[in-house]
Symmetry: C3
Subunit: 238 residues, 3 copies
């Protein structure tokens, strides 16, 4: 499972697509002014990048975080469909803006290329899923999506069904001294997904330690609902 | 695939059902007054029609638009479940009111009969879907559901995952001079569906041209996520 | 289909799990104070119980209602993911509080044990589902979740797709003199589920009669969308 098409010949806006999360990347070099007025963007750019998926918000946001670090682009909208094709979580719609179409296309491509890494700590079973994310230095995508302070370490600890996320959060926070940014649950801070997610920030070592501790208890709990959860790509958080 | 049951012998309220979108039509000749107080209707009628589906809001709304044109009935509620049985879109709950049960039953039947037409430009693939709708003259259902001016042409251009809808909207609006009513996206104007949808109004020829242009780019983009999207019924927008 | 694991050896927080609705029960003996501040609980307890499912909110809430009657615990949060693994309804996240971990573990276990009863009047087909619930004496879970007066009889009458619930509600209310607490529909009082649900209260005999009447018409209507709906466990409402 990997990027299966990167043809740019279909339509000029197409950048690339990936089977991972059914993710498609596009670039509009000069967006229609009336459409731009109807979009919910934090800042108006005429060069627009679009990253859109059925499954996974966190992985695409983390992938985009690397992309905006590497290019002269900004995340201007993060939207949260309740999707995952019948699963318990979200898809995502990410809009980015830039001054040059080649920058924006490049950012979208970087994000697509990062998906096999950022899906590394997504663990699925028939009953639910876990998601863990970590970055030593949060940038604009993680800031806009999760309220994380830019430049500091950030961690995401998520379990579904959502109650598993409550216990994962408790274990994670008790493990290391970290700042709790928020706890998202089905009726608060999600699009009614069945996820419990704690967002943490702080010292890089502490955040990583907390994420790993949350993962450990989450894997054991989710396994109680049947099969052992498995990741489709190698774990990147060690 | 078509209407498989139109028996009225089951319960008096039953009007008809269709496999298309798992749609059921009913009529309550004299609704309980206390229940009516608890419903969220724009106008209180005692004769109530109900059209309810698992998959597809747009097609049922367009079908009901024809039904209210043909009968002495009014749409009094449009509700948007996040459904499609694991897909990226909505189902719908439509309530209509009338003065005579036979009018209301007739309206519900007209709507059910129109579904094979209004599903004609719904294109599905494993990764997502597209929906296109067009009417030369919007009536009460389209007005209440989408804010379209009655009596004018109306078009709906929708893609899922939602980012595809952004590019479809941009292409459509650039193609012809139309009024943009709104752009609905996962976190704005939907029930967290994974759809990007532009609603347009204006001159009949221009709206039709814009819809067709949006469809063309949408079919190419969605095909990049794997298989070619297909419609289950013949396209009606030419 | 029944509880398949009740091992407590996995992690200390684990109480039990059930295949029924993919439901997991846990207990945190001393919740982290910062996490507690970020949870949305009506009252702060340090001993926390968690019941979390992918499918079914009503059955878990009714099961928890029995559990809080039987133990010194309180329901402090009810949250509504839009789930059921691609179905038309909700999952649930229930948090309870207590003064003693053994009380809380016992309450969670009682709730898990009640699931095969409270799923008795959940009827599924490929097109949708029905749910009926009844208690002669509502307690804290039903009160917090549905606004039912404690100590009085309570009934829940739900159909999906949601239009079926409208007709079920009309029939039920006309059958017996009951108080209508609320009518929940896709855009009002649900997490965009495709359910129409009337919540009723009053005299025990009247509530039961109304629930049974709603069930009868619901079974006939849902059957019109294809196959006869079936329950996985014996009906408990007679």
């Amino acid at each position: 499972m990997d990027n299966f098409l990167n043809s740019t010949s279909v339509v000029p806006e197409f950048v690339g697509a990936s089977q991972i999360g059914d993710t498609i990347g596009m670039c509009i070099p000069s967006v229609d002014a009336i459409l731009l007025d109807h979009l919910h963007v934090s800042k108006k750019f005429t060069v627009l990048g679009v990253l859109s998926s059925r499954t996974g918000a966190g992985p695409q946001i983390m992938a985009m975080d690397e992309a905006v670090k590497a290019t002269n682009t900004e995340v201007i909208d993060v939207e949260w469909p309740r999707d995952t094709k019948g699963g318990a979580g979200h898809g995502v719609l990410l809009l980015i803006g830039g001054y040059d179409p080649s920058d924006v296309r490049s950012a979208i491509q970087v994000a697509l290329d990062n998906l096999s890494r950022t899906f590394g700590d997504v663990y699925n079973s028939a009953a639910g899923h876990l998601e863990l994310q970590f970055t030593a230095r949060a940038a604009g995508a993680v800031h806009m999506a999760f309220g994380a302070p830019e430049g500091k370490a950030y961690g995401l600890i998520c379990g579904a069904p959502s109650g598993i996320g409550v216990v994962m959060a408790d274990t994670a926070i008790k493990t290391a001294g970290v700042d709790v940014l928020s706890f998202a649950s089905p009726s608060h801070g999600t699009s009614f997904s069945n996820e419990g997610t704690v967002h943490i920030s702080g010292d890089s070592g502490a955040v990583r330690q907390a994420v790993i501790a949350g993962r450990e208890v989450g894997l054991k709990l989710l396994a109680q609902l049947g099969e052992k959860p498995v990741n489709d790509f190698p774990s990147y958080i060690r």
